[in-house]
């Protein structure tokens, strides 16, 4: 009677230890998963204002040298 009782107690302790590991796992996700789970539509701050980005020179007049209300005829 004493031996089976001891075995049951050991098995119970092992089961509790195993359950404890499983509960802690979600709190520290592996770093490799972060990139996969990131929102694909997230933008860097400067890309949120694309019109403010400097543009490569085209050789034509910049907007600030076009008179008010002027639209170049095409």
């Amino acid at each position: 009677m004493r031996r089976p009782t001891l075995c049951l107690l050991l098995l119970g302790a092992l089961g509790l230890a195993a359950c404890g590991d499983n509960l802690q796992a979600p709190e520290t996700p592996p770093p490799a998963d972060a990139a996969v789970d990131a929102d694909p539509t997230a933008l860097a701050p400067c890309l949120d204002r694309p019109t403010e980005l400097s543009r490569p020179p085209t050789g034509s007049l910049p907007c600030e040298l076009l008179p008010p209300g002027f639209t170049p005829p095409r």
Binding site: T58, G59, S60, L61, P62, L65, P67, P68, F70, P72, P73, R74
Partner: protein, 236 residues
């Protein structure tokens, strides 16, 4: 690369002496160091005296004031004390005289003399300002040079000419041209602007901006005379 450098070097060797010659000629004149004036505005007008007379120092400068230039007040100068010459209440001339103690033994100095005056509401015109320069040699001999000839004259000495630009402020200005301006005179009156537009045609004294004008679809280089009544946009 070596070829480009050689070309630049050659251009420098050819153009350098010409540039020095041009600068020397320009400095010989009594000039307007303050540049173009703005129509219908009181402003400082500065005369630059680049040289004396035949090696002698300048001891007196007289500027005749045309009737169209009003509210004239001279500034004191380290050259000498100014005197205002009037006909009634109208200032007809301003004269600066150097004290005897300050006269230099040789023609070594550059002088600037300034008046504050109101320029008439006459954009796209030029005002001739006759100047009389008096010099004194180390031996005490005085000589007088008149700068009173119109631009392009083949005799005498050219008078300083005040260019009158349209009334304007920094930024965009919409201007109705009050009198015809020949195409050749557009740089004279509007050369200090960033860009000038008439319709879809533009002009700038800056060579890079002119290249951009030529590269902009639908935009042409401003050419031909400006007619009285033309509406133009000018950015300063």
């Amino acid at each position: 690369m070596r070829s480009s450098f050689s070309s630049l070097l050659l251009a420098g060797l050819v153009c350098g002496p010409a540039l020095i010659l041009f600068t020397g000629t320009a400095e010989a004149h009594v000039s307007l160091a303050s540049g173009p004036a703005i129509a219908a505005k009181s402003q400082k007008i500065t005369f630059g005296v680049g040289h004396g007379c035949e090696g002698s120092d300048t001891v007196r400068i007289r500027v005749d004031i045309p009737a169209s230039v009003t509210s004239v007040r001279p500034l004191f100068s380290d050259f000498g004390k100014p005197t205002v010459i009037k006909n009634g209440t109208t200032v007809t001339a301003v004269e600066w005289t150097k004290s005897d103690a300050d006269v230099l033994a040789a023609d070594d100095a550059y002088y600037e003399l300034t008046i504050r005056a109101r320029v008439p509401d006459a954009a796209f015109t030029q005002i001739q300002l006759n100047v009389t320069q008096t010099c004194r040699s180390a031996a005490g001999v005085e000589t007088t040079v008149l700068w009173d000839q119109p631009a392009g004259s083949t005799t005498g000495n050219p008078a300083p000419v005040l260019i009158v630009t349209p009334a304007h402020t920094m930024g965009w200005n919409k201007v109705t041209v009050g009198r015809a301006v020949a195409a050749a005179d557009v740089p004279t009156y509007l050369g200090d602007a960033q860009i000038v537009w008439r319709g879809a045609a533009a002009y700038s004294s800056n060579a890079n901006t002119m290249a951009q004008i030529g590269n902009t679809p639908g935009v042409s280089v401003l050419s031909g005379d400006l007619a009285s009544g033309d509406e133009i946009w000018i950015k300063y």
